[in-house]
Amino acid sequence: MNTLRMFYIRWGVVLAVAAGLVVLTAHHYRVHLASFAPREVASESPAGEIRVIGMVQSGTLTGDVSAGDATFTLAGQDASLPVAYQGPPPDNLREFKTLVAIGTWSASERVFQARDIGIVPNYGFVTGAYLVGLLPLALLLFTMSRRVSLLYEEMKASRLYQED
Amino acid sequence: MTPFLKTIRWILWKDLVIELRCRETIASMVFFALIVILIFSFSFSMDQQAAHDVLAGMIWVAFAFTGMIGLGKSFSAELQNDCLEALQMAPVSRGTLYLGKVAANFAFMFVVEILLFPMFVILFNVDVVEDLSLLLVVFSLATAGLAAVGTLFAALTVHIRAREVMLPILLLPMVVPVMIAAVEATKGALNGDPLSLYRPWLELLAIFDVVFTIVSFWMFDFVMDA
């Protein structure tokens, strides 16, 4: 049995599974909607469903949040956007909270009709943490196992050790 | 007096006599500490209030680093004329050797601390401390903790290359609890806080001392194994 060849086959399988997971995850989290800042929404009037990221301005939140019906203003860099939300009761709708609102911009009423509200996803941090956590371990394991396989080869060559 | 205690006393006596004759360890520790104090006063230009806030921290930084010098010397000085091997060959248990060395190190560090504390009080214009006896309890408990672990590590690093570097690297992370408790208790004693406020820190120091004297006493056998 060739130890080194087995070693590379094993790592090939590991790489394939890892790549599969990465592709699956990337597919799962792919965002189909275009993102806009509040300033861009008012000026560009995009059609169709979009995402807007901003902070709920203090004192603008009105309506019955627990019933899933609320109006508020999302503040961006140097503009704000009135939002009317209707849908299931949102978990995270509070003043000063940075949110993502998904919905459509109605240019005639100058209001953003949101159908879903969520917290800003920090995909960058999650990705970073998983890479930082797993990549060094994988690299360390790879170099160690490779070295062990080479050492066994060397010992076999020097007839120091016979496999049983 | 049992032979056990007698041996400890002889080892302590030996170290004290050597120190009395050459005054090398204590002198170098005091000078080093004075330089540390000087650097502190340069680096923070402080009024009295600021000095009051960070005094406990400065005291223990200075004490820990000067203690490191004394601890390092306690075994490296024995390398001359193969005294260390003579000690190892002496027909006494290793534990007594350890306890004798701990006692000697404790004595040196404590004397240096007693000499240095008035300097801190004078140079940083601190109000006269309310309760000196409590401060002495804090100093002795914390110094005992440093000496208990430090003596073992000094014995461990004495044969290592670059022992001057290795001793602080190994010792300082281990004595983190001692440093925290000593700083907090010293702060309390300097401020004249009621004892109940910082009594837990004193208890922590006492527990550390007992635990690490026992464990180090037991481990010293393995370190000194020739």
């Binding site: 997971l21 930082v132 049983d164 | -």
Partner: protein
Amino acid sequence: MTIHRVIRHVQRYQGWVGGGAALCLTVGLYLGLLGSPPDYYQGEVVRIMYIHVPLAHTALLGYTVLAGGSAWYLWKRDPIIDNMCHAVAALSACFTALALLTGMIWGKPTWDTWWTWDARLTSFTVLLLILLGYLMVRTVVDDLDKAARYGAVLAILGFVDLPIIHFSVEWWRTLHQPQSISMRGVSIASGLLAPLVVMSVGMSLLFSYMLMIRTQLLYLNRLLDAKKGRLLHQFHMSKADS
């Protein structure tokens, strides 16, 4: 020359452990990244927990193994146990460092700071320093027996110290910063528990697998060194004869 029986056991079982680790980690990553809902408060960022907490648990587990192995070495003086301890220390240091790094990445979005002198972060930093000190002693001491003994003594002392460090640091933090930013009190919803458990088991298995590999590595290195030394010795003896 026969190989040590511990190493022969390791050779026999390492495949199973490695396979188990791969399986658990794959399932755990799938559950953690895709199969679990985002947290009520933290949103997607909570997924960092599934990698951070298992790393930290495993590092502590490794330190326990290190202390146990060190005591065992001082008792039996078997070099293979010392190889195991050396391997555990290196891996534990690696896991601790990664736990700290992922913790920092988690801290940025949740607490809005990369670093805080929180009790756990501080005691993990001290743990990392102790492990690095251990590894430095191992590299600085040339005599194998001495390195093993000194390392064992250091590991046991550090293990005794660990609860005291944690206790004192926690106490110190609560004095200076009451109600500090701490994860305590945030109860873990059941949906988040499954990936956490699977990842924890997977990480422990991965640690065991890496430990098996690294112990073999150190053992084989020592064996080859011994062999080379003997060859060199024979060479010099034959020179002396002729």
